[in-house]
């Protein structure tokens, strides 16, 4: 469903991403790994429309989408989380989820002011969907808290829930396990697998936690200094000499 061909991104003299290709099939978890500064987040920024890539193609469900503005890409069904959690901190947890469902709501101002039946119905549906996902990530009791007051692990889960209420086809997670304790990481592991199995979402995952990556990925892409280094199943990657060298050899 997602195909990336020869993607490159140049910042002035720095070629942060250089000829990266990857593809993601339906109901698949594909990971991108690589050392710090390898260009993983930059790849995400190109895919989600924050940057306009300087070269290459991004094809989502048969459409070329490179250079499409960010807010339109998410409407196509590709949403992402951020390496540093980005919540609407002064809004409540539910409100965060309602904002995300903007597209599913009746945004006609007159309908809203008059409170027409169609408006109320969609608003209620959005609330129910929010309640469902809050329950799913264990935050239902905190629904009316300010998002900024949540614990770090809870914020991470809220960010994923906020993506899921948009009913995406493809979910991009940038280091979702960063800062979580082992128990939380294990929960996250189960959640991501369930997103794939139960909700038919494809996942692109950037992660440093190797146990998580090896555990749940269907395929892994390794990039190093912006260049693709290897790709394959977890088993192949584990035994790939180039990868071992990049991670261990130079140390």
């Amino acid at each position: 469903m997602l195909e990336v061909k020869n993607l490159s991104m140049r910042f002035g003299g720095l070629l942060a991403v250089d000829g990266v290709s990857l593809d993601v099939q339906e109901r698949e978890i594909v990971s991108i790994i690589g050392p710090n500064g390898a260009g993983k987040t930059t790849v995400f920024n190109c895919l989600s429309g924050f940057y306009k890539p300087t070269g290459g193609k991004v094809i989502f469900e048969g459409r070329e989408i490179q250079g499409t503005p960010d807010y339109k890409i998410s409407r196509l069904g590709m949403v992402r989380t951020f390496q540093h959690v980005r919540l609407f901190t002064q809004m409540t947890v539910v409100e965060n989820l309602l904002v995300a469902q903007h597209r599913h709501l009746n945004t006609n101002m007159l309908a809203g002011l008059l409170g027409t039946p169609s408006y109320k119905e969609r608003e209620q549906k959005a609330l129910d969907r929010a309640a469902y996902w809050l329950e799913r990530v264990g935050l239902l009791d905190l629904a009316n808290r300010d998002a900024g007051n949540l614990a770090y692990g809870q914020q991470r889960r809220l960010e994923i829930a906020r993506c899921m209420v948009t009913e995406p086809k493809l979910l991009m997670l940038d280091e979702p396990a960063a800062g979580l304790n082992p128990a939380e990481t294990k929960e996250l592991n189960q959640l991501i697998v369930s997103l794939k199995e139960d909700y038919n979402v494809s996942v692109v995952l950037i992660e440093h936690d190797m146990s998580l990556v090896m555990d749940i990925s269907d395929r892994i892409n390794v990039i190093n200094q912006g260049k693709p280094l290897a790709s394959g199943t977890p088993e192949e990657i584990r035994h790939n000499d180039d990868v071992i060298k990049a991670y261990l050899g130079e140390a």
Binding site: S48, F50, D70, Y71, K72, S74, R75, V79, R80, F82, R86, L87, F88, T89, Q90, M91, T92, V94, E95, L98, V99, A100, H102, R103, L105, N106, T107, M109, G112, L113, L127, D128, A130, A131, Y132, L134, E135, L140, A143, N144, D146, R162, C163, T166
Partner: protein
């Protein structure tokens, strides 16, 4: 340390002398064609020296003073109280709001004409502040040229009445819509700007509109302004002693009561009250609607908002347009109340005062904004004897507010939503 302070203090005192002596101590007087330089009164010199001494003392013991200022929050009369329970506060606030409105309905019949006139002004400021609150408080866009939209509303009515003889009730929607349109047009170029840059550009826009009104003499009458703006009518009944417009009747004759100038003032007050309540209700509703949540999301984190499919253009423009719309509303009422407008009513200070109301009230909170509008408009009137020190008192009040309650009189409370547990 002490020696260091001493040197610094001496330096500051000398600077004070150097600056204030030529400004206060010397005066130029025109004597026929010549200008002569003369000294000021002895008391002025004494004052200058005293000021220098005060600066010296303050700077020497600066650390002590600043330390005391830091303890100021402890004297805060409100400090150390438990915040009220959410549900209780919601109830209290809505009771209070209803109470204020009911009281406001009967109040004009009890007090003098001057007070009613002042109260009308308060209501106009409430409308303005509620509208600006959308832009600044909710959408987080610092707009320093808000008065421009107020001017558009007022001038729309003034010009239309001058050239086409339009009535207040027709002008009200037209003025508001035109102001909203102006808001949208001015919104386009500043879409990409944030924070300080946005503030500077909107400040410029405000000034451009005022200067345009001032200089386009053929249309707007320039600094002379436009007069003869009609008052509102009640179902075709005029409130003047004699009917001006053909086909209208007069209020006092219809009801067979004696003419009184107060009728007109009270009627205008009631219109302003109704409009202010409508403004508050509509904006309150907006805050619970998708568009209101989008404004806040954009304020909180623009990148996250965009990543979820919110279009920055649509969200920002809607905030500017709706904010400007209510300024146009207020402008029309203002023009009708004054009967005469000139660019002087739409200077930057107005923008600053409206912004101060929003900030004092606690960005985003409606009851707070209403209380702040009352305070900011009425306090200077009560303290007439101190009118020279008005700005000084205003500034001091702002500083104390920032020390004691940086979140404003009544910080926003989030809307609580009950969810039904799913499956």
């Amino acid at each position: 340390m002490a020696a260091n302070n001493m040197r610094h203090a001496l330096f500051c005192a000398i600077v004070t002398l150097i600056i204030s002596f030529p400004i206060l101590g010397l005066s130029l007087e025109a004597k026929g064609v010549n200008i002569t330089l003369s000294g000021a009164k002895t008391s002025t010199y004494v004052a200058i020296v005293l000021a220098a001494v005060a600066v010296f003392v303050f700077q020497t013991f600066r650390d002590t003073f600043m330390g005391a200022l830091g303890k100021l929050p402890n004297f805060n009369p409100l400090a150390g109280r438990e915040p009220m329970e959410q549900t209780k506060r919601v109830k209290l606030e809505s009771w209070l709001l209803t109470g204020i409105v009911v009281f406001a309905l009967f109040w004009p019949f009890l007090v003098s004409r001057g007070s009613v006139d002042l109260a009308t002004l308060v209501l106009i400021y409430i409308m303005l502040a509620l509208g600006l609150n959308v832009v600044v408080g909710l959408a987080g866009l610092l707009d320093l040229g808000y008065v421009a939209f107020y001017a558009v509303g007022a001038y729309t009515f003034a010009l239309l009445s001058q050239y086409t003889g339009i009535s207040f009730w027709m002008a009200l929607p037209i003025g508001a819509l035109l102001a909203g349109l102006t808001g949208m047009i001015l919104g386009f170029p500043v879409l990409r700007l944030r924070g300080d840059y946005l503030a500077i550009v909107t400040l410029g826009f405000g000034e451009i509109i005022r200067i345009l009104l001032n200089n386009w003499t053929t249309l707007t009458g320039g600094p002379n302004g436009i007069g003869g703006i009609p008052e509102p009518t009640l179902f075709g009944m005029e409130f003047g002693r004699r009917v001006k417009e053909e086909g209208n009747t007069s209020f006092h004759e219809t009801f067979g009561i004696a003419y009184s100038g107060e009728h007109k003032v009270i009627f205008l007050y009631l219109i302003a009250l109704v409009l202010a309540v409508i403004t508050a209700l509509i904006i309150r509703r907006f805050m619970r609607m998708p568009v209101g949540r989008a404004w806040e999301a954009l304020r909180e984190d623009e990148i996250a908002a965009r990543s979820l499919g919110l279009s920055r253009t649509a969200v920002k423009l809607s905030a500017f347009t709706i904010g400007a719309f209510f300024a146009g509303f207020a402008g029309t009422v203002f023009a009708s109340k004054q009967g005469f407008i000139s660019p002087e009513s739409f200077v930057f200070l107005e923008s600053a005062i409206i912004l101060a109301i929003v900030v004092l009230g606690g960005m985003g909170s409606q009851l707070g904004v209403i209380l702040a509008a009352i305070a900011v408009t009425i306090l200077p009137e009560l303290a007439r004897e101190f009118s020279e020190y008005r700005m000084l008192i205003f500034g001091a009040a702002m500083v104390l507010m920032m020390v004691w309650r940086p979140q404003g009189l009544l910080p926003v409370r989030r809307i609580q939503i009950t969810l039904n547990k799913q499956g």
